[in-house]
């Protein structure tokens, strides 16, 4: 009962946060200089034509009125129509979202697989050369800008060696009958490898280091000593007893990191020409496509909020020591 009340409270807070986010997003984009029409100088439209376009976009109305209209549509689930594509924002984001999701999920799975195994291994081998080097490598990878890492990998594997494609999600001229057909073939996997690895490398440093310090804490605990005393092998102690407890903070970080990663990994998508949400944000802001920019940022906000909420709830289940006061 207490838990349910806690969840309701958190969900309510989430909605308040999102409402504030929507408002800030709305006004920020309209306050910065620039508009979605005046930058197209070779469009063949004269001043009246451009004014007409602004009218079509609903931008000739007073700001307050625009805001109310936006909110009214928002509660109906209508995020407006993109100025760039003239399609409903929900449709455009939907298409991109799948692409970003595939990339992010793959990257997270790889990152956390590496993170948990390497992190626990380093902790086990603490204070040896392996530990020191391993930690240094993790920190270096995390500090290297992700686009730099991406470009280096592109340079080596695509340009120099020619093993992998230059970017994009498919080879030119391919046709597909549906999602399954598109995503489950070798060509797609070849395009997925480099961006996924780049993103994974960058994201793996956090779980690695976190797992390591978490393990270090756990190893000192009494019940580990008891496990040894019982006569269990080192491997069994590590895998069955230590890792499970050490996983707790890492799991919650996973939820939070996933929320941020959905944000679109703008840099990776730009370097690898991956048609996801990240690239869309850059294009939308640059061309002042307000509905798109607001829509994408709102989605990211929702993702982060939801995942944070999930992380909190998950933790309250996993760790019986946590109370809900």
């Amino acid at each position: 009962m207490k838990r349910l009340k806690y969840i309701f409270q958190r969900v309510f807070m989430m909605f308040i946060t999102l409402f504030i986010l929507v408002t800030i997003l709305f006004f920020i984009f309209r306050v910065i200089p620039g508009d979605p029409v005046s930058m197209f100088i070779d469009s063949g439209m004269d001043a009246e034509g451009k004014a007409k376009l602004m009218e079509l976009y609903g931008l000739d109305k007073p700001l307050g009125e625009q805001y109310v209209i936006y909110l009214k549509n928002l509660v109906k689930g209508d995020l407006g129509r993109s100025f760039t594509y003239s399609k409903p924002v929900v449709e455009v984001i939907g298409e991109r979202f799948v692409n970003t999701l595939v990339l992010t999920l793959t990257a997270m799975i790889i990152a956390y697989s590496i993170g948990i195994t390497v992190g626990s291994y380093l902790a086990w081998k603490r204070n040896t050369k392996i530990d020191v080097i391993g930690t240094m490598v993790a920190i270096t990878v995390r500090c290297a800008p992700i686009f730099w890492t991406g470009m280096i990998l592109l340079g080596i594997f695509s340009y120099k060696l020619g093993w992998l494609p230059l970017g994009g999600i498919t080879s030119p001229g391919q046709q597909f009958s549906g999602y399954f057909d598109k995503f489950f073939n070798l060509d797609f996997l070849r395009h997925l490898i480099l961006p996924a690895i780049t993103s994974a490398l960058y994201s793996s440093a956090t779980p690695t280091l976190l797992m390591r310090s978490s393990m270090l804490e756990v190893i000192k605990e009494d019940y580990i000593e008891l496990a040894y005393a019982k006569g269990l092998s080192e491997k069994r102690v590590r895998n069955k007893h230590a890792i499970r407890t050490a996983l707790l903070p890492v799991v919650t970080i996973l939820a939070i990191q996933a929320g941020f990663a959905i944000g679109g990994s703008v840099l990776v998508e730009t370097v690898f020409r991956w048609p996801g949400m990240g690239r869309e944000i850059v294009l939308a802001v640059g061309s002042r496509d307000y509905p798109m920019a607001q829509g994408v940022f709102l989605l990211i906000g929702i993702m982060i909020s939801v995942f944070n909420l999930l992380a909190d709830i998950l933790y309250s289940y996993l760790d019986p020591r946590v109370t809900l006061n």
Partner: protein
């Protein structure tokens, strides 16, 4: 508790230290300046009134990643202006901001725009009337400099609202003389457009005037040499909107020109040729008779008739469809008089109606658009996605995977059927990506202008050939005559004479460019007036003109107005 206090104290002390350094430095600067001013006053016999100082110029330039040419050229020009004695603050601005504030809002001092030389601009209506007539000096209008000259307006109106080519040419020549003398927004230089394609896989290239490989004629004439009959072409950014009435992007229009047919087309040399119209005649100043072909079909099999033509123009006028309406505003009515004949009546003579209106407005299928219009209303139709786009052109819409690839299929039943089987358009995120695509033979054609370092790069693939065409557009420096110092023609002339054109072309463009002084291109032989004043780089002459106009320099070489200075708007009366 104690630990926290210690930490807080250390942080506080660090900040205090940093701020005191900054404060000291500022004070020192101010003291120095104060000292300088005192020195100036003591040394000058006739002390220059600081109120007469020529105001600082806020010069907006592009960022290096957005356009390296305008960035570097901008910095060089700013330096030259400083040499002359102007105070210049070169600021990098994002294009969205620059276009809203300067291009539309006219709140700028100076910025550079690279104007495209499209075939529709062969008739210099855009360059001479739209950019310089006083009626377009309002917000959003293309008279960005705010040039208001009644004599010029008179000539411009003679030029635009008159069908006699001789009279138009005379007016155009005189207008060019005035513009090169008054320099409200002078042309500076233009690119030698260098584009590239795979010469081993495709031949029979037709680089069209102003557009080169992007020209309609290139797409329909280009011929495959071997097995691969699909032309892959790479570009930065994807197609955005296939609605011919409201699309904003030039790239979209290149594709729409292939899908839709207009009544007339401008050929690769800038001449107007018949297309859907098999003939046309200007019966009088405001009446045009058009006869159309009877062998044209839309991609869904329906025939293209006079009904579709009438519908297209009526519909554009009624909904004020931005792209179409801008070209056909002078239209009063269009009536079908016989099965394949229409009569267009204009409200007043408007010469560009034929050269722009008939060539830029693709004919829409009435049976599709009328239905859409009746069901959803004007607003929805203007914003309609229009996928698949059904036209009558030499290419049909095939499929479009957004941000992945866009495909057109050849329409072999068309009266001017293409030689290739289809076009595949692939978006990359930057120029470099497209070039790498060319080297890897993923891309057969690249319409982007190649810079010297790009040329070095494509040399890696021996099949890649280049084609050079002169740009019909130019880089134009937009002054703002509404602000000082640009309200004075002598200041503008001096600033123009300080632009180091030769150096910019050599250093920044690697020699791939030409000087330009006139918005009308030299290659545009009928309209171009070659006998105009050319204010090329000459700092001496600039200083002389300034001195004669009543400008003074102080000890530091900074410009001041003389006490009795009066600004002259323009020299052409």
């Amino acid at each position: 508790m104690k630990n926290n206090f210690k930490k807080g104290l250390i942080v506080f002390l660090t900040f205090a230290l940093v701020f005191s350094f900054v404060g000291c430095a500022q004070q020192v600067e101010e003291e120095n300046l104060g000292g300088q001013e005192q020195n100036n006053e003591e040394n000058e016999e006739t002390a220059l009134n600081p109120e007469n100082k020529v105001p600082k110029i806020e010069f907006w330039i592009f960022s290096q990643t957005k356009d390296p040419i305008r960035y570097e050229a901008g910095l060089m020009i700013a330096e030259a202006w400083k040499d002359l004695g102007f105070e210049v603050d070169a600021q990098v601005l994002e294009w969205a901001t620059m276009s809203a504030e300067g291009f539309k809002g006219h709140r700028h001092d100076a910025f550079i725009v690279q104007w495209g030389g499209k075939p529709e601009r062969v008739d210099p209506y855009h360059w001479l009337y739209v950019m310089h007539h006083s009626e377009t000096a309002k917000e959003g209008g293309y008279n960005i400099a705010g040039y208001i000259n009644p004599k010029y307006d008179e000539l411009a109106e003679q030029f635009a609202f008159n069908n006699d080519p001789q009279a138009r040419q005379e007016a155009a020549h005189e207008m060019q003389e005035m513009l090169t003398r008054d320099v409200p927004q002078p042309s500076m230089f233009k690119r030698k457009l260098t584009q590239s394609y795979n010469g081993a896989k495709f031949e029979n290239i037709t680089p069209g005037i102003g557009e080169g490989l992007y020209s309609f004629w290139n797409f329909v004439n280009i011929t495959p040499t071997g097995e691969d009959k699909i032309l892959n072409f790479g570009a930065v950014t994807d197609i955005q909107l296939l609605n011919p009435l409201t699309t904003k992007k030039g790239q979209d229009q290149y594709m729409l020109k292939l899908i839709y047919d207009p009544l007339l087309r401008i050929d690769e040399n800038g001449e107007i040729v018949n297309w859907i119209a098999s003939s046309y005649e200007s019966v009088d100043d405001t009446t045009i008779e058009v006869t159309i072909r009877d062998d044209v079909y839309f991609h869904d099999g329906e025939p293209l008739t006079a009904e579709d033509v009438k519908f297209t123009f009526d519909f554009a006028m009624e909904t004020q469809a931005p792209y179409y309406y801008s070209q056909i505003k002078a239209l009063e009515s269009v009536e079908i008089v016989e099965e394949n004949k229409l009569v267009f009546k204009l409200s007043k003579p408007f010469a560009p109606f034929i050269s722009n209106g008939f060539t830029m407005c693709g004919i829409l299928p009435k049976h599709i658009w009328e239905k859409e219009y009746k069901e959803k209303g004007a607003e929805a139709v203007l914003q309609w996605e229009n996928v698949p786009a059904i036209g009558s052109g030499p290419f049909k819409f095939d499929y479009w995977r957004v941000n992945e690839e866009f495909a057109l299929e050849a329409n072999k039943e068309h009266f001017y059927a293409p030689q290739i089987d289809g076009i595949l358009r692939i978006p990359y995120t930057n120029d470099y990506g497209v070039i790498q695509g060319q080297i890897a033979n993923e891309v057969d054609m690249n319409g982007a202008n190649l810079l010297p370092m790009d040329l070095e790069e494509i040399a890696k693939n021996v099949d890649i050939e280049t084609v050079e065409i002169p740009d019909l557009g130019s880089y134009i420096m937009h002054f703002n005559m509404r602000n000082q110092p640009f309200n004075d023609v002598y200041a503008r002339r001096a600033l123009t004479m300080a632009i180091p054109r030769e150096a910019i072309i050599e250093v920044v463009m690697g020699g791939q460019g030409f000087k330009a002084f006139n918005p009308v291109a030299a290659e545009n032989t009928f309209w171009y007036n070659g006998d105009t004043e050319e204010l090329d780089f000459d700092l001496e002459k600039a200083r002389e003109e300034l001195k004669e106009a009543g400008y003074l320099w102080d000890e530091d070489g900074k410009l001041y107005y003389s006490d009795d200075f009066e600004a002259t708007s323009f020299l052409s009366e």
